[in-house]
Amino acid sequence: MTSMISVTLKGIFRDRVFQGILMTALIFLLIPTVSLLSMRQVTELSITLALSLNSLIFLLLSVFLGGTMLWKDIERRYSYGVLGLPMTRSSYLAGKFAGVALFFLLTAIVLGAATFVVVFFASSLYPPERPVQWEIIALCLFFDVMKYVLLVAIAFLFSTLSTSFFLPVFGTIAIFLAGGATQQVYDYIHSTAGDTLTPLVKQAASGLYYLLPNFSAFDLKVNAIYGLSTSFSGLLLTIGYFLLYTTFILSLAALIFSRREMR
């Protein structure tokens, strides 16, 4: 499996999609300039922009690298050679996933460094009212990466279900959007405004709430921007949720992929 991981990593680094997305990271250079233009809350704005740019880059990577990873292997018939080796389908899948996850971690370190440089630059020019909470920014980045690694697992699941890249790419985008809204929908139906809904709609919405990933739990942007502290137990709960949900999705993907016909 480790050799599968290293092959996957090499593939990503030599991939044009990756190189294109990396170009997006150059926008980082613009952040200080744009923030300075606002003249107010320069630091807060640059943190917001940097974190959003991080998220955008990871979203692109999840959808276009994660969503096309298996499809490419099958489409280009690499899978015949690889799956003809004495490797289980599960370890092939796990190797690919671990490769992407590891790559995300490396990217997060690089992008995190860029974020820190940008924010440091902005805050030294226009010192903010509250000191910048660096550790919360780092935490925010880390949880963001977790969210997108989870999204990659979902992209993999879609890839095992479909022979084209259509479902993985658009399905992943759909889940990303839905997963970001589940908490709001849940809160809405359990508020007084939600009382006007029929019980059936309520049940369906609750069902979806438990089925779909809950991405808002991973979102620490507000804490990072305003230096608000986070609840330790809440973070632990999110990590536990991430591990369980990812394992479940990957196991399901492995189960489906093991039965898949390579024809």
Binding site: S3, V7, K10, R76, Y80, G81, G84, P86, T88, M262
Partner: protein, 300 residues
């Protein structure tokens, strides 16, 4: 124990809108350890289907098979197998060398052994110069040779090759045939598919002919070639007159065309007449003709 044992293997592809293709029908076949077996059949006969099933890439509709006694549904069955897919394609961002190392590692080869074997295999397949370049820049024939190389690198006991000679130039074809002969000398088992009879004639111990998903016959190649002899061309000096009837219209002086059954008497009479026999050449209906006969029969 057979190297490969196939029992009633059947594969029906289900296409869209309920379309069904019976690609493989009740294939039963034993490949002995140490033999080179040619799996011959026209395009679309089901050769690749059989091979993909053996490699666990697709699951049989019914039937079963084992490789060195291990059931094909477990990855363990592929532990001692070198597999070459049809028209292979490998991670094109890797170089040939990187891919061989990847393959060697999945077979748990040790570093020094792998390094040595990679180098020797790359040299053998004439890929040494190109070993560091990404395979994206390789020609079709080069990729095919990488395919052969990744099979040889881990030195398995069983080789399952889907059209190993396809996409190669005459030099490459000869090289692959030489390699297969060497494997036989080293006691390895080779099971390969082809639609070209000449490939089978020169290197196989036995041949199985598959037409439309059904195995028509399995025979030793030598037996087919021997049975295919229809007569002899005999070159002799001082041919007695009584044998002049064996001259045929376009034969040159000193050459007789002798039907298979007449060879004994003709030789005896030549000897009795004191002629010197210089050469006896069998005239055979070759494997190609045999193959075409079988295909024609099975379609009738």
């Amino acid at each position: 124990m057979s190297a490969i044992s196939i029992e009633n293997l059947t594969k029906t592809y289900r296409g869209k809108r309920g379309a069904k293709v019976d690609a493989l029908k009740e294939l039963t076949l034993e490949i002995e350890a140490g033999e080179v077996f040619g799996f011959l059949g026209p395009n679309g006969a089901g050769k690749s289907t059989a091979i993909k099933t053996l490699m666990g890439l697709i699951s049989p509709t019914s039937g079963s098979a084992t490789i060195l006694g291990k059931d094909i549904t477990t990855p363990d069955a592929r532990r001692s197998v070198g597999f070459l897919p049809e028209n292979p394609s490998f991670y094109d961002y890797l170089s040939a060398e990187e891919y061989l190392v990847f393959v060697g590692k999945t077979f748990a080869m040790s570093g020094p052994e792998l390094k040595e074997k990679t180098a020797s295999v790359l040299n053998r397949l004439d890929l040494w110069e190109a070993r560091k370049r990404p395979m994206r820049s390789y020609s079709k024939g080069m990729v095919q040779r990488v395919g052969i190389a990744q099979v040889l690198v881990h030195d398995p006991d069983v080789y399952i090759l889907d059209e190993p000679m396809s996409g190669l130039d005459p030099l490459g074809r000869t090289l692959v045939k030489e390699i297969i002969k060497e494997l036989r000398e080293r006691g390895k088992t080779v099971f390969f598919s082809t639609h070209i009879t000449a490939d089978v004639e020169l290197i196989c111990d036995r041949v199985g002919i598959l037409v439309a998903g059904a195995l028509q016959t399995v025979r030793p190649v030598q037996e087919i070639l021997a049975a295919g002899v229809v007569g002899y061309q005999v070159k002799a000096k001082d041919i007695p007159q009584e044998l002049f009837s064996y001259y045929n219209a376009d034969s040159q002086a000193e050459w007789l065309s002798v039907p298979k059954a007449d060879l004994g008497p003709v030789m005896a009479r030549l000897q009795a007449a004191g002629s010197t026999v210089e050469l006896v050449e069998p005239q055979r209906k070759d494997l190609e003709a045999f193959f075409l006969d079988i295909v024609a029969h099975s379609q009738a």
